[in-house]
Every structure is written in C-alpha cells, then in structure tokens.
C-alpha cells in the first residue's frame, strides 16, 4: 500500500527582483509516497532547486505560499527550531553544489559525525567514528580513515560530492531530496551511489525526490517522473508511461535531445530559443509556446491546466495534440523511446 509521505499543495516560491516578486515555482502540486522515487527533470532554471529548497525550508529571502505537508504536518509554516530538528534527521538533502554545503574549516569526519549526533545521541564516540568511516566507505571513498581527517579543499570535486551524500544518508532519513547527486561523478561511481540510494529506499522505506538532468538516471531510478518547465509541472506520469508515451512537447523535445546510446544518430534535437530569465517568464498562456513557433498559436489553451489523460498521467495544455517536430510530418508525430 502506498503511504503518503509528502504532500505539496499549490506551492509558489517567489524571489524579489528590484521591487517585485517573481515566482520561480509557480503553483506546484505533488505527492510523494514512502518507498517511492519521484524524478524531477527540466531545463536549467526551470525551478527544480527552488522547489527542493522550499521543501527543506532553506530559502531565507523568498516568499513561500501554499502548503507542504510532511507526514501530515505543515512544514511551510512551522518554527525554524522545529524545522531544524526535522532537517538532517527525518529529512535530508544532497546539494547540487558541494562546496557551499561543507564547512571549509572543519575536517570532513567531524562534519559527518555532527549529523549523527543529532539523531543517535546514545552512540559512543568510538561507535560514531566507526560509523562515519563505514559511511565514507559506502560512498566509495578510498582510504576512509585518512579522508576522515581531511579538510574539504583537500578533496577532489567528486570526493566532496560523496561526502555530502554520506552526510545526507547518515541518519537514514524518511525523506531524501537529491539535487543532481551524481552529475560530478564518473559512471562507475555514479552507479555505486545510485545503488546506495536504492538500498536506502528498500531498507528504510525512504521517499526520494531525485532531481537530475540525466534522463538515463531517471529511467533507471524513478517510479514516477515530473517534468518542470518555467516553474510549473507540465507533465507527470509513471516512469514507463513517461518514456514510452511522452505527451507534452517539452518532454518530447527533451527526450529527443539525448545522445542515443543504442544507435548512432546524426544530429541531436535542439529546443529553439532559451529559457527566459525569471523576471521575463511568460506568465500567461502556454509557457512553452515561444519554444515551438512553428506550431499554430491557436492550439494552446488560454489558461493551461493539467489534464489527466490516463490515471496518474497528467499533461498541461492541449497543445500536445497538435505538436510535431519541425523536421517530421504531422502524421507520425506520436512516439516515445522504443
């Protein structure tokens, strides 16, 4: 049975630019169950990290509207002290940028140990040290006893990333948000880290939000996938449906731009135009319309909403029914990865 762990309702996260607030996350509604991996994909700047930071309560100057229910408790509106207690204990995050997340003046062993102290107060110092070393070993760090005593600047980028992962999984959290956890790592280490995250899910029933631009990682890890564009969810479905029958023009374009590892293709698909900056985002109509100028404008909804096409498969706007790639005919325009 699927048990709800996190419920995000109409979340709107806005940043102040000059005198106005602009929403980077714009009316996002999502649920995450225990023992589930929800993948979030989307272009750079689409609001994925802003969403993650909102759930973790880590934005200090953003305006947050809507509800974030973690085990039925609204954490969008609780005291910083209570939130602090949840963080690093019941919920944890792997950060996209490892340098900013580590304390440059503290050896890494102590940083991991500190996290353990939050949760397992009755561990002896020796037990804690052993546990830290075994965590370092689990994330694939060679010579963990040696690395225990090193400062962040003495480690390579990939090693720092793994220290962050060790901190995040140290207390076996119920909710783990992993923001591009493996982007800086080579594939063999990546595979090892992904296995570790899977183990956490299987052993502890952890619910996981996995943010990544690597669609291969999503295909291998996720149970469901949400696709974000310009602050909104434009499509959400179980992983099989999303890869076999993607509907939203953005999702289809994204899948088409991956270098195919199966067979050589000549040209990769490129999405025309660029993601507009936050203050210039289109706020009315279909936000992706400008990126598909060859499609007749009349096919978009005036106020696009998510439509449930099949149980659990939601797509924003009706334009997907009329979408085709510029270099293909309109007839055979409907296929995913196969």
């Amino acid at each position: 049975m699927s048990e709800k762990l996190l419920e995000i309702k109409n979340l709107k996260t806005s940043f102040r630019i000059k005198d106005d607030y602009y929403a980077a996350v714009d009316d996002v509604t999502l649920t995450l169950n225990k023992n589930e991996v929800l993948g979030i994909v989307g272009e750079s700047g689409s609001g994925k990290s802003a969403l993650a930071f909102s759930v973790m309560g880590l934005h200090n100057r953003a305006k947050i509207e809507g509800n974030i229910l973690f085990k039925d408790q609204d954490i969008a509106n609780i005291s910083p002290a209570k939130l602090n207690k949840l963080r690093g204990d019941d919920m944890a995050m792997i950060f996209q940028d490892p340098l900013t997340a580590l304390n440059p003046l503290m050896i890494v062993g102590d940083q991991i140990s500190e996290t353990l102290l939050l949760h397992k107060k009755n561990m002896s110092q020796k037990q804690r040290k052993d546990r830290v070393i075994s965590l370092l070993d689990q994330v694939g760090i060679p010579y963990p006893e040696h690395v225990y005593n090193q400062f962040p600047h003495e480690l390579s980028g990939g090693m720092r990333q793994r220290v962050i992962i060790a901190i995040a999984i140290a207390n076996q959290p119920e909710l783990l948000i992993a923001d591009e956890p493996t982007t800086a790592l080579d594939v063999t280490i990546q595979a090892q880290i992904l296995d570790l995250i899977k183990d956490l899910k299987d052993d502890m029933n952890t619910g996981i939000i996995l943010i990544t631009h690597d669609l291969g990682v999503v295909a291998e890890m996720a149970d469901r996938v949400a696709v974000m564009y310009a602050g909104q969810i434009v499509e959400i479905a179980d992983v099989h449906t999303l890869f076999e029958n993607p509907l939203h023009p953005y999702t289809r374009s994204l899948l088409n731009s991956v270098p195919n590892t199966q067979e050589g293709q000549d040209k990769l698909h490129v999405i025309q135009g660029i993601v507009p900056s936050l203050s210039k985002l289109p706020r009315e109509g279909c936000r992706f319309a400008a990126r598909m100028p060859w499609i007749d404008e009349s096919v978009h909804e005036e106020n696009p909403v998510l439509h449930e096409i099949k149980p659990g498969h939601f797509v924003r706007c009706t334009c997907h029914k009329h979408f085709y790639f510029p270099d293909e005919s309109k007839e055979d325009s409907n296929h995913g990865v196969s």
Binding site: S44, G157, L185, A219, S257, V258, N260, T261, L268, S338
Partner: protein, 310 residues
C-alpha cells in the same frame, strides 16, 4: 606520419612533505600513454576521475611539464625546446570544462574572444572588432554581444563564447575537456551539434575528454580508456562499445544508465554479472600495484592492456 602522435607520455607530480618539504615520491598522473589522432577526426579520452585525462590534455598543449615521452604534432616535436614556437601553439587550442568559471566575469565578450588574437596578431581596433563579430556569428551569437558580460548569457551561450575564443586563431586541433558536462541535455545537444558543424567547416581535429559515455559514443571515432594514469584499452567506437575486452572497460560500459526503463531489471543483472567478473578476474588485468599492463593488439584497430603471454 600521424597528425598528432603521443608517445609514451609521462607526467609526474612530486609529493612534497616532511621536515624540509622534500620530494617524498611522485604522483604518476600520466604514466606511459601513447596514441595518435588523424586529422579531421574526433578522439575520445575516457576514464575515472583522477585517471589523468586533463593532465594528458594539458601536457599536449604545453600547460603541464612533461616528465618524459614525446608529443609530435604534424611531425614537429612539441617537447623539444626549439619547437615551442608560437605557430604551433596557435594551431592547438583548448576548451575548458566549466562555462561558468572559465570566462572572466569582469571582461566583455569582445576582450575575452580577442585575447588569443592579441597574443599572436597585431590588428587595429576596427579589424579586431570585425574579426570578433565574425567569430560570434559563426557560433550563432549576435554581433551586438561583444559589449556584454558573461553573466548575461545562458550556459550554452557561454560555452559558445569559449568555443569562439578557441577557434579565433583557426586552430587545427582542439582539446575539449568535458565541454558539455555542466550543461543540461538540451543545451548540451546544441553545443555538440555545433562542434560537429565547425569540425566539418574547418576540418578540425578534436581530442574530446569526457566521462559521459553516451556523449563520447555520439561524438568520437576512436576512444582511449584510462585508468590510474595508464591506458587499459583503445579502439574504434565499435571496438569499445560492442566488443570491450578489458574488465575495466566492461565495467564502464555496463555502468551507462539505460534510457529505457523497461530494461531496468536486465541492466541490473548485467551490471551485477560484470561486477562479479571484475572481482574474480581483477588479478588477470592488473599488476600487483593495481596498475594496468602494457597494451597488446587484438585486431588492427583494437588494443587491450593484458599481461604478456608466456
């Protein structure tokens, strides 16, 4: 004679320490690497983090001192003092990994792109501006961009600025170190397509360094796989992806995430089998120090690091 030939290249970094900061030993970042690239082709350099890929690239372009070995570019020995001439350095350029930090944020695009030109040619302000604008047009940026600063561009556009700078002197060889790793897939596609277009247009040769095997497979004709400063395998794209021989290459290929979720169980099984094989046959593929053996040829195009027979 090849276009670029690297022969038994070694780059060691001293480990210093102790009382008088003496040299205690060496990090053998590159430990006897040989390969050659034909003009107009793309050669991929792949391997785990810290295996010496960047150091190899930097040694070729002269940014790292070479401990021993040779780098021959169009027959000229780049390692001999005499040929460290300007004209050769002009012919080889590098694109750096990170589009966010490799461009000086305080400089305008004009100055960034013109920098290599200023080092090698004497142009008037007018000529220089015209040249930079032509280059920007080539990489698909508007001529007005010359007065902007890097932060005013998206990641993909910034990487194009880096490319414009790299092609400013019409080089023959470009060393591209993880040129798309920091970019999301749609921007990545844009940069890769573009690199292929200018390759045809200018008959460019690429040394393409990456840890993304999907990208390497898409771009490269030949591939070398590095492990702890040494080569474990080299071959054509088909040799490496369809017929990997060294256990490390097999492990690398098995670790590529599959974009089709239906293959999940299969892929997991495959990876476990390869991992088991890796553990069981480790001693057949690595010496007592955990380093790769010398390369033996298994076909005309395919070399694998195996212990010598007999």
């Amino acid at each position: 004679m090849g276009f670029l030939e690297v022969e038994d290249l070694k780059v060691y970094f001293p480990i210093k320490g102790g009382l008088f900061n003496r040299t205690l030993g060496n990090i053998k970042a590159v430990d006897g690497v040989s390969f050659s690239i034909e003009q107009g082709k793309t050669y991929g350099l792949v391997g785990e983090s810290g295996s010496g890929k960047t150091t190899t690239g930097r040694a070729i372009i002269g940014l790292n001192d070479i401990t021993s070995g040779k780098v021959l570019f169009e027959g000229k020995d780049l390692t001999s003092k005499k040929s460290k001439t300007a004209s050769v350095r002009k012919d080889i350029q590098m694109i750096f990994q990170d589009p966010y930090s490799s461009l000086n944020p305080k400089k305008r695009v004009l100055d960034i792109v013109a920098e290599p030109i200023r080092n090698f040619e004497k142009l008037s302000k007018q000529e220089e501006k015209k040249r930079v604008q032509e280059l920007l047009e080539m990489v698909g940026l508007s001529p007005e961009s010359i007065l902007k600063y890097p932060h005013e561009f998206s990641g993909g556009q910034r990487q194009r600025i880096g490319v414009a700078r790299a092609i400013a002197l019409k080089p023959k060889l470009i060393i591209a170190d993880e040129p798309v790793s920091a970019l999301d897939v749609s921007v990545q596609a844009q940069v890769l397509n573009f690199m292929q277009d200018i390759q045809k247009e200018l008959n460019l040769t690429y040394l393409f360094i990456s840890h993304d095997l999907g990208v390497v497979k898409h771009m490269c004709d030949e591939i070398g796989i590095m492990y702890k400063g040494r080569y474990v395998e080299q071959g054509t794209k088909q040799d490496i992806f369809e017929n990997p021989q060294h256990i490390y290459t097999k492990r690398l290929v098995a670790a590529i995430p599959d974009i089709d979720p239906r293959h999940r169980a299969e892929q997991k099984q495959f990876r476990e089998d390869v991992q088991r094989e890796y553990e069981q046959s480790y001693n057949d593929y690595f010496d007592s120090e955990g380093l790769a053996y010398g390369l033996q040829s298994v076909s005309d195009t395919h070399l694998v690091a195996l212990p010598e027979k007999g």
